[in-house]
Amino acid sequence: MTALAPLLSAMPTRREEDWRYSDIAAVARAWPVVPETITIAAGDSAAQLIVQDAAPGSASIRQLAITLAAGARLTLHIINSGGAYGRIALDVTLHEGAHFELGGIIIATGEQVLEIITTVRHAGPGASSNQIVRCVAGGTATATYLGKVAVARAGQKTDAAQSFKALLLDRGATANAKPELEIFADDVKCAHGATVGELDKMALFYMESRGLPPVTARALLMRAFLSDALVSMADEGEREAAEARVTALLA
């Protein structure tokens, strides 16, 4: 729990790396934050969906300390779309052979500032993690993914991957992505990639030329783009429900 101590003390400032893109005035409204914990016992598997759909104008900060014991698996999905400021921060510790799967979605419009911040600690050997975060940002919104992977000396044979992709819908929108690696073991695989782009204009024209109104064409393209983050949902019913939620947010 020592890793969480700073979050419980003083209000953060933008000088701190993890808060540099945050809306500090909004943070103050949500402060102090009570951390939550998730612990998965050795060999167990769990899946969870976190939906951040706070009321317009409000601020929401969630800080989760997650521990996966040896051989445990956790599949976590996030749909971060509510409030004026919404932050979901994960601090995940993986013990030997554990696997952490994250599918994160950010849908930011207007002046929203939405963030997914992760620290994944590969504390034991042979653990793996895979993080896929997709976001669309319009208006003057800011979407941020800061993903740190920390491999301890004991974390040999770590296999960690991070993929972040953002679509900016308007000129004033911002996406921040920062993968960060801190590796103390010598036999590890840590992959990361980040891209920021716009909706494919040719695809939009193609769809419109077949009769889709522009709004429908854009929503279809965005949904397809975001659904990358939901592929890892094993339960088909839950995946369809999550896709329906995303579709409703894009309408």
Partner: protein, 246 residues
């Protein structure tokens, strides 16, 4: 059906169409041939309403309406279909979903009853079968991983399901082997009817052996410089475009 009158269009300030006039009646098949850079694809994009293709003067009247005043999706609902030279890949959107959304968006706009899942599936299955595209492929993302020939067949599947009044087919024959060319040509011919018109845009006379046009036009420097019957295509094949430019 469509009257194009003295059409001038430009891209990024560069004039591409320089006074193109063309009238196509219901039931007719017209072919436009011309060298690279003559404005063939520009004409097709101007008709479909692609952004960045600016009409500087002239008019296009489709079924009595000002086509140029309509947005691309409105043109589609009015009955214009553009078969693209390079059909676009859309990862994550299945062909079936795309096509059904398109069909129902068009029908909705025309105040027609939307197609049920069963009705749509029947249409799509029949079209895929006629064009030799395995129905299973329609469950995949739009054109993703399709070969050049499969993409063109897929365009024809879309056309068969959407049943446009005017089909503008931009180099639908490019990238097709002889067998695929025959299948795609059959697809175009099946759609021929007194209520429909087709504008074929092509480099080569080959397609016109299978889809025999009523008129052949030669486009050079953004204008039609000659019009004739199917024999004109053979003459072009023999003498080249250079003889026409004079």
């Amino acid at each position: 059906m469509i009257i194009i009158d003295n059409l001038h269009a430009q891209i990024d300030g560069k004039a591409i169409l320089n006074g193109l006039s063309l009238t196509i009646n219901g039931g007719e098949v017209h072919a436009i041939m011309g060298p690279n850079g003559a404005g063939k694809s520009t004409l097709s994009y101007v008709l479909a309403g692609r952004a960045g293709y600016e009409v500087t003067s002239g008019s296009v009247t489709f079924m009595g309406e000002d086509l140029l005043a309509m947005a691309p999706h409105e043109r589609a609902a009015a009955g214009v279909f553009l078969g693209l030279q390079y059909p676009v890949e859309i990862p994550g959107v299945s062909n079936l979903m795309f096509l059904r959304t398109a069909l129902n968006a068009q029908r909705y706009r025309r105040d027609e009853k939307e197609a049920s899942g069963a009705e749509f599936m029947k249409l799509a299955k029949a079209a895929a079968e006629e064009l030799g595209l395995p129905y299973e492929m329609l469950k995949r993302s739009v054109n993703q991983g399709f070969s050049g020939g499969e993409k063109k067949r897929n365009e024809m599947v879309q056309m068969a399901v959407l049943e446009p009044k005017l089909a503008v087919l931009d180099e639908t024959d490019s990238g097709l082997d002889i067998d695929a060319l025959r299948v795609v040509s059959d697809g175009i011919n099946r759609m021929r009817s007194p209520e429909r018109a087709t504008l074929l845009i092509t480099h080569y006379q080959r397609l016109l052996d299978y889809v025999v046009p009523d008129y052949v036009h030669v486009l050079v420097d953004g204008r039609i410089v000659r019009t004739g019957g199917p024999e004109l295509a053979h003459e072009l094949e023999r003498d080249g475009y250079v003889s026409m430019a004079a």
